[in-house]
Amino acid sequence: MEKRRILNIFVDRLVENGSQAIVCRGSEDLYRNLELVMDRVGLEPAAFYPREVLRSLPENIINRLNHVEDGMNFGEIARFRMAVTGVDYAVAESGSLVIFTESVAERLVTCFPEAYLGVVWAGRILPSLIDLNEIIANGVANGKTVSIISGPSRTLDVEQTYVRGVHGPDKVIALIVVEE
């Protein structure tokens, strides 16, 4: 499937599953959008876990974020109302963000907050979950835990009414970076 089509499907499916999608043209556009989104969401305190796919951010953004480190108290992590991390892969068909983690803190940072902002590179979007099979198998073999996030935390348990933000984020925002 050509890249443009995969990107379009991914954006459509993100919206379909209740997430938001922002397509950024390169890193500068990402930083600009990230700042705007953080302003608009307006939740504090906010957290950042530096991961291989997104190790750092410009100073003006990083100053607004608290670094989460391995071994950090879980109660502290639970206090964050917004979190920003890089995303390892994405699945177009289901509008999913795929994160391989090595520590509990790294995983928890995306579990608790009301808003989760995930930065994903367009080149890492795969067409379907099944296309991710070997990547997942390799990740697992290397001791990674895999989290696939496809929209906000939700429930229909009370009178079949759709309510977001049960145990996890009620806002999932994917910032998709398209390298020119």
């Binding site: 699945v91 073999a141 895999v146 348990d157 009178e159 049960v166």
Partner: protein, 673 residues
């Protein structure tokens, strides 16, 4: 009115709509592949479990295969005690319900907190889950808010916020996290869990001790199979492409290097025995999507608190037999009325109606249940009544006699029954002439209702076919045996099946088609007899069997005698739904020129002898949905293909209700060319 019945029905309908849309996007080959994978996995279950044990232990995790529920609960309690755990968090898990884990932990003085929203509500209410995916589906927001707090607003969002805040403190204090599994990959020991709430992420990450408790059937060979299973499970369960969260956690995960422990407890509890049981092994193909619940007419009425033991709904019957025995299954298996609608929903093509009948059969044999008198003797009762029509009609019209009939024969006195005709179908059928130059050869298979109670329909079918140039005959036959099958009297059903197949086979050999005048008759001949008898003869008969409408469409290519105008409401009987992707009679009537409105509701609730006897009250409640639908449309004539449905609709609808044979008989001819 049963508590929460409307909520339940609306919920099931809404899930079903979403599911239908999603499943239509999945190609049949993907479903076939999953079915094959599930079957292959069953064949190598023992070796996969060995591989899994090796993978878990090699990675430093703990593996335990529990043969019985108490072995599993003892193991979990021991682990918690050894680690000095106090507070245990759980995600929703049917296997832990099956083994009574909460009870065992609480008996050991430990605190257990359910973290799934619906399950937590049920836990605080002290109730039983009514659905495997939506445990509190039967409760209103007002009822839930009263359970949670005296001053909580009775709105879904306020309830969710309250439960979320309440559970947050537990998440941070818990020592032990317990989950089930949607799939387990044997090669790495990876546990795959899906949720929409995200509670599994917290339960598997924060506590020091992580324990997964799952049935052995969850074990698949590798990650590919696990992902395929979960993908279809989600699509068929909720209609989503994926749930909000999918977590894959493995015993070798670096997370467990932080002083945490990984335990996998696999539960057998009858599953391995079932995997070697030719009749029941299909149950283990189930991926627990609960799609079969959505269409089950009796489940839709009473929900899982009545239609279930631990496992609920149609597939819950064989699951209960396997994991809790015949008596537990017999406690609710009688609620299955063998309409067959569930099988059409199953993504892995499990013959749920047959499994349920097999379970009922075993329950009867083991003395756990007694078949209804009427079901076991219906053919004899009908035959006797038709031999003495005058006397029978006097009895039927006498209220005192009807009360007596209720006591002796279990025929509910409120059921309006047709009078017994004075002439038998065999006598009437003499009027059917052989065409001089036949265009085809057919034999009629009528089933008991037309044979004994509505012979004029058999005659009309015969006259119509002979008028269309078919050499049609009425061979010796008994009823199809559906009431016997429905009530688990499989040996008796087999006898009738044998008799009918023996009678029909020579005609099939001499190039006759078998034309069924009842959807149930077609269902038995095509779907049930080959499975009951496992003979080539039964399969050959099945291959040449048609419904009357399909025969008219496919073999004769008929058209309207005169141009017809008019609007009809069509009720599609359940057994025909199981056999045909589209209703043949509706297609035929439309071809003749009628404007036909198909009813978008399932079963009418009659279900043969069930609705005549013990099931009358429920049958009356089930038909309510159909009555509402017809009332919304208006006063048009209602048409159906089944005399059983006809009885029900004539009793409960204000509209005129007619059998499709009568309508076709008056309106059909072969094209002049």
């Amino acid at each position: 009115m049963i508590r929460g019945q409307h909520l339940l029905r609306e919920s099931l309908d809404s899930v079903r709509r979403a599911r239908s849309l999603r499943m239509s996007q999945i190609t049949p080959s993907v479903l076939e592949e999953l079915q094959t994978l599930r079957d292959k996995n069953l064949e190598k279950l023992a070796s996969n479990i060995d591989r899994l044990r090796h993978a878990v232990e090699k990675a430093g995790g703990h593996f335990y295969l529990a043969q019985t529920p108490s072995q599993a609960t003892d193991y979990v309690v021991d682990v918690v005690r050894r680690c000095h755990g106090r507070l245990i968090l759980k995600t929703k898990s049917m296997t832990t319900e099956e083994i009574g884990l909460n009870h065992a932990l609480e008996a050991a003085g430990l605190d257990v907190v359910e973290t799934d929203m619906g399950e937590r509500i049920i836990q605080l209410a002290g109730e039983k889950p009514s659905h495997i995916l939506a445990p509190a589906i039967h409760m209103t927001a007002s009822e839930i808010s009263k359970i949670l707090s005296s001053n909580l607003q009775p709105t879904p969002s306020a309830i969710v916020r309250h439960v979320r805040d309440d559970l947050r403190r537990y998440f941070l204090m818990a020592d032990v996290g317990i989950t089930g599994a949607n799939a387990i990959s044997a090669d790495t020991g990876s546990i795959i869990i899906v949720t929409n709430e995200g509670n599994e992420r917290l339960v598997t990450s924060i506590p020091r001790i992580y324990i997964c408790v799952a049935g052995v059937e969850k074990v698949v060979s590798n990650m590919y199979e696990a992902l395929r299973t979960v993908e279809i499970q989600v699509a068929s369960a909720t209609g989503q492409r994926l749930t909000s969260y999918l977590t894959i956690i493995s015993p070798n995960a670096r997370e467990f290097g932080e002083g945490r422990e990984f335990h996998l407890v696999l539960v057998d509890n009858g599953r391995m025995r079932a995997s070697g049981d030719a009749e029941l092994r299909e149950t283990l193909r189930c991926i627990r999507c609960s799609a079969c619940f959505n269409v089950c007419p009796t489940y839709r009425l009473v929900g899982g608190k009545i239609f279930g033991h631990i496992y609920t709904g149609p597939i819950g019957i064989p699951w209960t037999y396997i994991t809790a025995g015949a008596e537990a299954a017999a406690g609710f298996s009688h609620l299955c009325i063998s309409c067959g609608l569930c099988m059409g929903e199953c993504p892995v093509n499990i013959d749920i109606p047959y499994l349920i009948s097999a379970v009922k059969d075993r329950a009867v044999r083991s003395g756990s249940s007694k078949p209804p008198f009427l079901a076991a003797n219906y053919e004899r009762i009908l035959r006797t009544a038709s031999r003495l029509p005058h006397l029978s009609n006097i009895i039927l019209s006498n209220p005192s006699m009807r009360t007596l009939m209720e006591k002796i024969l279990d025929i509910d006195h409120r059921r309006i029954l047709p009078s017994i005709p004075s002439k038998s179908l065999r006598e009437l059928f003499r009027r059917v002439e052989k065409p001089e130059h036949p265009v085809g050869k057919a034999v009629l298979f009528t089933d008991s209702m037309i044979m004994y109670l509505f012979p004029e329909l058999g005659l009309e079918a015969g006259l119509m076919l002979s008028g269309l140039g078919v050499d049609v005959s009425l061979p010796p036959q008994t009823g199809s045996g559906m009431p016997l099958f429905q009530n688990g009297l499989l040996d008796l059903a087999r006898k009738m099946a044998n008799l009918n197949v023996d009678n029909l086979a020579p005609y099939v050999e001499s190039d006759h088609e078998v034309v069924c005048l009842e959807p149930t008759a077609e269902y038995m001949l095509r779907r049930i007899y080959p499975k009951l008898l496992k003979t080539v003869k039964a399969s050959k008969v099945a291959l040449r069997t048609y419904s009357l409408s399909n025969y008219l469409i496919k073999i004769l290519e008929v058209e309207a005698l005169e141009p017809v105008y008019g609007r009809l409401i069509y009720h599609w009987p359940c057994h025909s739904r199981d056999l045909h992707a589209h209703p043949p009679t509706k297609l035929l009537l439309e071809r003749l020129g009628y404007d036909v409105l198909g009813l978008d509701v399932g079963c009418c609730g009659m279900a043969g002898v069930w609705g005549v006897g013990a099931g009358f009250e429920m049958s009356r409640m089930i038909v309510g949905e159909l009555v509402e639908a017809v009332d919304r449309i208006g006063g048009e004539t209602v048409v159906t293909d089944s005399t059983i449905c006809l009885l029900q609709l004539q009793q409960f609808l204000k509209n005129k209700v007619i059998h499709s044979i009568s309508l076709l008989h008056e309106n059909i001819r072969r094209p002049a060319s």
